[in-house]
């Protein structure tokens, strides 16, 4: 396992931890973008170039901004009155730890059975052309459905968050 992988995953995990543990919500959001960047780099390292750039474009470009806007709109940036954490933080952490333990244990146990252990094959070069063709041939139905979903989400989000007229007066 080369040094870059450790570096990037360390960055991602640090970002994630910061996003979860920091007091100031805006800082969490920014830490989140760092985590997203880390994950994007992991994607690039795994050879999924398109996915990596899509991740950056979608998450860092849009979702992060969205989160930040949401924070500002709901006045989250001021420190909350009654504590940052919910009532039983420890139980939450314990449960998360338990889940990680189970997942880790499962991964380690099945390490031998995992594929690709032996063939350190070179990263498959995936060009955008292949992706385009795949999208248009095998995954055309999911593509249309996702298109519909996105439009619906777009309109839905606007309506949900719209400031009703009558409420103003």
């Amino acid at each position: 396992m080369n040094f870059a992988f450790y570096l990037i995953s360390g960055l991602a995990v640090a970002g994630a931890l910061a996003a979860v543990l920091l007091k100031n919500t805006v800082h969490c959001a920014l830490a989140l973008t760092v985590a997203f960047a880390g994950i994007a780099m992991l994607f690039l390292q795994l050879g999924a170039q398109f996915a990596g750039f899509a991740q950056i474009l979608v998450y860092i470009g849009a979702v992060a901004i969205l989160v930040v806007f949401a924070i500002l709109l709901t006045r989250g940036s001021e420190t909350p009155r009654d504590g940052v954490y919910s009532k039983f933080p420890l139980t939450g952490l314990a449960i998360a730890a338990a889940v990680f333990a189970v997942l880790g244990w499962a991964v380690l146990n099945s390490a031998s059975a995992l594929p690709g252990a032996e063939t350190t094959s070179a990263a498959p070069t995936v060009t955008v052309m292949d992706i385009g063709n795949a999208l248009m041939s095998r995954y055309v139905l999911p593509l249309e459905i996702v298109a519909l979903l996105l439009t619906a989400a777009l309109i839905g989000a606007v309506i949900v968050a719209m400031h009703e007229k009558e409420e103003a007066n």
Binding site: G92, I95, A98, V99, V102, A106
Partner: protein, 693 residues
């Protein structure tokens, strides 16, 4: 004698028959209008009543003329107009009216006498402030009486019969503020009611048997052969045929209305009403209704009588009628002897004379009874109106012991009163003599027994005696009253004169020599034949009756005329025979007898019913109530213990446990997430643990 009457078959009812219904309708209408008038409208009430009755008189005369002309052409007239009143299911109830000699005669008698009494009462009631109400009831009575007369259906007859009963109650109790008048009215109504119940039973039985209540309906009426044949075939126990039994039931109704023996108690008390009422209702018309009813139903009563050569046999029903009539005659005459009230004497004499009529009907047939009825109507109305003018003259004094010597003060009244008294007693050649003679003749040759004949003769004697006693007390001797007597006004005396004339001349139409009346009623030609007098028994019979009358008059004259005893000391007879006198003056204690028996019985029966109701039914109801309360108690116990204890407790358990579960859904997203994660961990652990082998 009763011969088969040949009546012309029912032709289309002539014009006058069609209009016959106007006779009762107009007076009734008049009474309706008078009822609406205000009390002070006295003149209009009088004119309306008299006018309506006058119109009825004219129509009645026209009808009588029509029947007379029919009869004179040798064909007796009987025209009926029938119509269906109500229809239920297949059967329908018919009503109708009939015009035949019997109803024609009665129509004329009732309207004529009624008119005279109406005119008389305008004078008599002049001082009474309820004048309009009086005339309303009078015209209503006249309408009802005329309805009874023309009725061709027993049902219509019964309806008018009840209406007559009602008006008699209203008129007797006219001075309702007098308790005695109110009680008398109630008594009259109830006793006639007892009679009417039997009468209704008879009607229903007849309707059940013959299916129709019409008397004459072109052959199918109840009085015609086909129905009578059916009735004779039936046997109704005690040896009576159905016809006989129905006849007796109808006779009970008639007895009630005409005051025969068992139900006569109300008639003397009815004198509480004003005198014109007594004259009209309790002398001339209403009481005659019972006799007229028996005459109308005569074919039914005499159905199945065997013929003994010329003499006609007598059925059980007619026998009973005769005996009751005879006994009532004697009984009433005896009581009349010991009475001191002027109107009460006349009342008992009316009861007696009605007994005569019933006996006449029973023995001699319709013509004999009816002739005496017509004659009696005239002179009894005269006597009552005469008494009325006497009372009016003596300033409403009714006790004869306080009158006397009115011969001088009221000459006209005295003359007319004397004529009426002589006619009543049966003084020769006056109306009463011929009619009584007819009855006695029938009695002498009656096939069943000669008892009634002797009783009637003794009755005639008594009648003559108490009438002379009364005249002696009232008109002879010196005036014992307090106030000065004065003659009545002309409007009262003129009717008296008219009636007196008829009381004298009426006898001529029924003498044995020229029996016009019997011929007219039976529809036979009447020829003048002096030889009739020389029939074997006629002269002897006339001789005995005149002898009896003279004996009675002489006895009375000897005892009472000119003595004018002062009111306090006892009557002459009383001194002679105190005990029987006391019995007779107390009306043979009939009222007390009834009081002891019937009233007592009712009282006892009331208590029994009360006991029954209180103990038996009450007991049952309370038992049921107790049961339901017991059930409710059980239910409450069940509900509390079983349902609450068991079922509800169970439900509570479930809901509390439900509460625990609902803690899980506390709406906080993170708790759900925690549960989710835990489940994931648990599932993974299980999977891994199970696959570790």
């Amino acid at each position: 004698m009763q011969e088969a009457i040949s009546f012309t078959p029912q032709t289309a009812a002539s014009g006058i028959a069609q209009m016959l219904w106007l006779i009762p309708a107009v007076p009734m209408l008049a009474s309706g209008v008078i009822a609406l008038l205000k009390q002070p409208k006295r003149r209009t009430a009088a004119t309306l009543a008299i006018g309506s009755l006058g119109f009825s008189l004219l129509v009645a005369l026209a009808a009588f003329g029509h029947v007379l002309s029919g009869w004179s052409h040798g064909a007796a007239v009987r025209e009926t107009v029938n119509f269906t009143w109500i229809q239920f299911g297949s059967t329908n109830v018919d009503l109708g009216w009939v015009l035949d000699p019997l109803s024609a005669v009665m129509l004329v008698m009732v309207t004529f006498v009624g008119l005279l009494i109406f005119i008389y009462s305008t004078g008599y009631m002049a001082h009474d402030e309820n004048f309009t109400r009086f005339f309303c009831f009078l015209s209503l009575f006249a309408g009802a009486m005329l309805g009874v007369v023309i009725a061709n259906s027993l049902l219509l007859l019964f309806m008018c019969w009840e209406l007559v009963g009602l008006t008699s109650y209203l008129l007797i109790g006219f001075w309702y503020f007098k308790p005695s008048a109110a009680a008398a009215a109630k008594k009259a109504f109830l006793t006639t009611r007892v009679g009417d119940v039997f009468f209704l039973l008879g009607i229903v039985w007849l309707f059940a048997q013959t299916g129709t209540l019409l008397f004459y309906n072109g052959g199918t009426g109840s009085m015609e052969e086909t129905a009578l044949g059916g009735l004779l075939a039936q046997h109704a126990g005690w040896g009576l045929t159905a016809a006989g039994a129905i006849g007796l039931l109808i006779f009970a109704g008639a007895a009630g209305k005409s005051g025969q023996f068992p139900l006569h108690v109300w008639l003397p008390d009815a004198m509480e009403g004003p005198t014109p009422v007594s004259a009209l209702i309790h002398a001339a018309t209403m009481v005659a209704a019972g006799v007229y009813l028996i005459a109308r139903v005569y074919p039914l009563m005499s159905a199945g009588a065997e013929m003994h050569g010329v003499l006609i046999g007598s059925t059980a029903a007619l026998t009973v009628v005769t005996w009751v009539g005879a006994f009532t005659a004697v009984f009433a005459s005896l009581i009349a002897v010991a009475q001191n009230d002027i109107k009460r004497i006349l009342a008992y004499s009316t009861v007696a004379q009605l007994g005569y009529m019933m006996a006449g009907l029973g023995m001699g047939g319709v013509a004999v009874g009816m002739f005496h009825l017509i004659a009696h109507a005239f002179f009894k109305a005269l006597l009552f109106m005469g008494a009325g003018s006497v009372i009016h003259g003596c300033n409403d004094e009714q006790d004869i012991r306080r009158m006397g010597g009115l011969k001088a003060d009221m000459p006209l009244t005295f003359v007319t009163y004397a004529a009426g008294m002589l006619a009543l007693c049966g003084f020769p050649i006056l109306a009463g003599f011929w009619s009584k003679d007819g009855i006695l003749e029938a009695g002498s040759i009656w096939s069943v027994s000669r008892g009634p004949f002797y009783m009637l003769v003794f009755g005639a004697l008594l009648t003559a005696f108490y009438m002379t006693r009364q005249v002696g007390y009232v008109f002879f001797g010196h005036y014992r009253g307090t106030k000065h007597a004065h003659e009545s006004p002309k409007v009262m005396v003129v009717p008296l004169a008219i009636l007196a004339f008829f009381a004298v001349t009426l006898g001529l139409i029924g003498t044995p020599a020229w029996p016009w009346f019997r011929a007219f009623l039976n529809g036979q030609p009447a020829e003048f034949d002096l030889h009739a007098f020389f029939e074997p028994g006629i002269l002897a019979l006339m001789g005995t009756s005149t002898a009896v009358v003279f004996v009675g008059l002489g006895l009375g004259w000897w005892l009472y005329v000119g003595k004018s005893p002062n009111p306090e000391d006892p009557d002459v007879l009383e001194a002679a025979a105190p005990l029987p006198w006391k019995w007779l003056s107390n009306r043979l204690y009939m009222d007390e007898l009834y009081g002891a028996t019937v009233i007592a019985f009712y009282g006892w029966w009331g208590r029994v019913a009360d006991w029954l109701d209180r103990r038996v039914w009450g007991g049952m109801v309370s038992a049921v109530a107790w049961l339901t309360s017991l059930g409710a108690e059980l239910n409450r116990f069940l509900d509390a213990k079983v349902v609450d204890g068991g079922f509800d407790k169970g439900c509570e358990e479930i809901s509390t446990s439900g509460g625990l579960l609902s803690q899980m859904q506390n709406g906080r997203v993170q708790t759900y997430l925690r549960i989710l994660a835990l489940a994931l961990v648990g599932l993974a652990a299980i999977l891994i643990w199970s696959s570790r082998a």
